[in-house]
């Protein structure tokens, strides 16, 4: 049995869905990806809790996650407006805006799994339209675009949706750092607590940004995922 598309979703209803979709338990395979953390630890670019918090906060404010946030918002707005031409452009840009094969895989594999699960459990016509649009153009589903479109399709506000999307991304990366032995459980939660203001700032900055001003200074994150391709021993796919 599936739920109905959610016209008039209550605030609590929206919260429950966001909690499910961006939880580490949501079956998108997020546990396989470290977004460069595995290589950054190996290279000694991150050495402790402070280093991890600084790395993730930088990536969120000025790096690769800044672009992901803007892609999320573009997809949210274009889905809400039913602007298929603009959504196709955003999806094409999201697919091409990748600093390594691993980052491309991380986004596309999770993006397609996210859409598949949503369509099975929380279907909405706008999600069918997105999948059809991607197939027609031979484009992969990028996670940020899929997530932004899903929130709009279910009437969930961009601000709450983006905050939960970014928080879920960080929770997954902190969990990767735990499994890499950088932190213990409590320090993992400390990292997330310390990143709360960075998430709130990133959401506000993305909402205020010109949607055309996609961009990142996160070159070391990208280089980490390039170097990771030849790392000797790997737990993660990025």
């Amino acid at each position: 049995m599936t739920t109905e598309p959610s016209a008039g979703l209550s605030e609590t209803g929206a919260l429950l869905r966001l909690q499910a979709w961006f939880s580490p338990a949501f079956p998108v395979g997020g546990f396989s990806y470290s977004h460069g953390l595995e290589a950054a630890l190996e290279a000694g670019w991150i050495g402790d809790l402070d280093g991890l918090v600084d790395w993730l906060a930088s990536d969120l404010a000025e790096g690769t996650l800044r672009s992901e946030a803007i892609l999320f918002l573009r997809a949210h707005r274009e889905t809400g407006a039913g602007d298929r031409a603009a959504l196709a452009e955003t999806a094409g840009l999201a697919a091409a805006l990748r600093g390594s094969a691993e980052l491309a895989l991380e986004s596309s594999q999770q993006g397609s799994a996210f859409l598949a699960t949503l369509r099975a459990v929380w279907p909405a016509p706008a999600l069918d339209a997105l999948v059809a649009l991607l197939a027609a153009r031979g484009l992969p589903a990028s996670l940020a675009v899929a997530a932004g479109a899903a929130c709009a399709a279910h009437g969930i506000a961009a601000e709450q949706g983006l905050a939960c999307f970014l928080q879920g991304t960080l929770a997954n990366l902190v969990s990767a750092a735990l499994r890499l032995g950088l932190l213990g459980q409590t320090d993992g939660q400390r990292a997330l607590a310390r990143l709360e203001p960075a998430v709130a700032e990133a959401v506000a900055a993305a909402l205020a940004a010109d949607p055309e001003d996609l961009g990142s200074a996160g070159l070391l994150v990208e280089i980490a995922t390039l170097v990771h391709e030849t790392q000797y021993s790997r737990l993660f796919r990025s």
């Binding site: 670019w45 672009s67 805006l97 990748r98 094969a101 010109d210 990142s216 990208e222 280089i223 390039l226």
Partner: protein
């Protein structure tokens, strides 16, 4: 293009003060089209509008030609608009470089717009190998490089950016830099890249996940439909562990990407020269040596 509309938190001019729009600003363009002629590379189109110039191509052997683009203004400032165009078609190697490093001076309130349109078709190998761009304190840049390929053409393209000139005591503290790439094959977007350094550039560059303390950045791509893996392996072998440089090399669908970060401009230059030597050795038809003007 998108980069031109970007926002900035740099202070604008005071009310009633002079802005970049009030000053005499450059609006130049130069475009060169090379085609395969009966005797090798032939000049099909040469368009120039001051301060942009293109020196007539120097033919190297039977199939290669090198064009040198010149900004006779000697640098760019806020509000300047420069457009470079370089197109190649047919079985030729068409290389373009710049006569000197491009200097980005302090802007009042507007970015310098630099638009570079590159196109390669019908089996051509295009090489876009400009000298470095040097951004001084307060510089604003919106640069958009588009590379269109069709008909089995290939391309090698480079951009490298120095944040100030530490060796001359000229540091860049603040700025607004956008360097945007779009690469298309047969009209399809293969790769997009938006480097964005906004506001406290020196502080951003120092952060670990961003430039990790580097003051010099290079992006080198080679676009080809096949044969990328040996190039990736050779570049990794020569560049991983290169003195003073952090390198990342990998293949994406239809192109090879090489990123280089260095604290010192000299180390970056050495790594760029090394990377080009690797490509020269392995890319069939690659132009000979480094561009001649690089050494001067």
């Amino acid at each position: 293009m998108s980069a031109a509309t970007s926002r900035s938190d740099l202070p604008g001019p005071e009310q009633g003060a002079t802005g970049d729009a009030d000053l005499q600003r450059a609006a130049g363009a130069a475009r060169v089209v090379l085609r395969r002629g009966p005797a090798g590379p032939a000049l099909a189109v040469l368009e120039q509008k001051s301060p942009c110039r293109a020196l007539l191509p120097r033919v190297e052997g039977r199939s290669a030609a090198e064009v040198v683009f010149v900004n006779t203004a000697g640098g760019v400032a806020g509000g300047d608009r420069l457009a470079w165009g370089f197109e190649a078609s047919g079985a030729i190697t068409a290389r373009a470089t710049s006569q000197a490093a491009e200097k980005l001076y302090r802007a009042l309130d507007r970015p310098a717009l630099i638009e570079t349109r590159l196109s390669a078709s019908d089996g051509a190998l295009l090489e876009w190998l400009p000298q470095e761009t040097i951004a001084f304190d307060g510089a604003r840049l919106a640069r958009a490089t588009t590379l269109e390929l069709s008909g089995g053409a290939r391309a090698t393209a480079l951009e490298w950016l120095l944040l100030g000139r530490a060796g001359h005591g000229e540091t860049l503290c603040r700025g607004a830099l956008r360097d945007v790439w779009r690469v298309r094959r047969d009209g399809r977007l293969l790769w997009a890249d938006n480097l964005r350094l906004e506001g406290p550039v020196a502080a951003l560059a120092a952060r670990r996940a961003l430039l990790g303390g580097a003051g010099a950045v290079a992006t080198l791509i080679h676009v080809a439909e096949s044969g990328l893996e040996p190039l990736v392996e050779a570049l990794r072998e020569r560049l991983y562990g290169f003195a003073g440089v952090t390198a990342g090399v990998g293949a994406l669908p239809g192109l090879l990407l090489c990123r280089l970060l260095a604290r010192e401009a000299a180390a970056l230059r050495a790594a760029v020269v090394e990377a080009l030597a690797v490509l020269r050795g392995l890319v069939p038809g690659a132009g000979p040596g480094l561009p001649r003007v690089w050494s001067s």
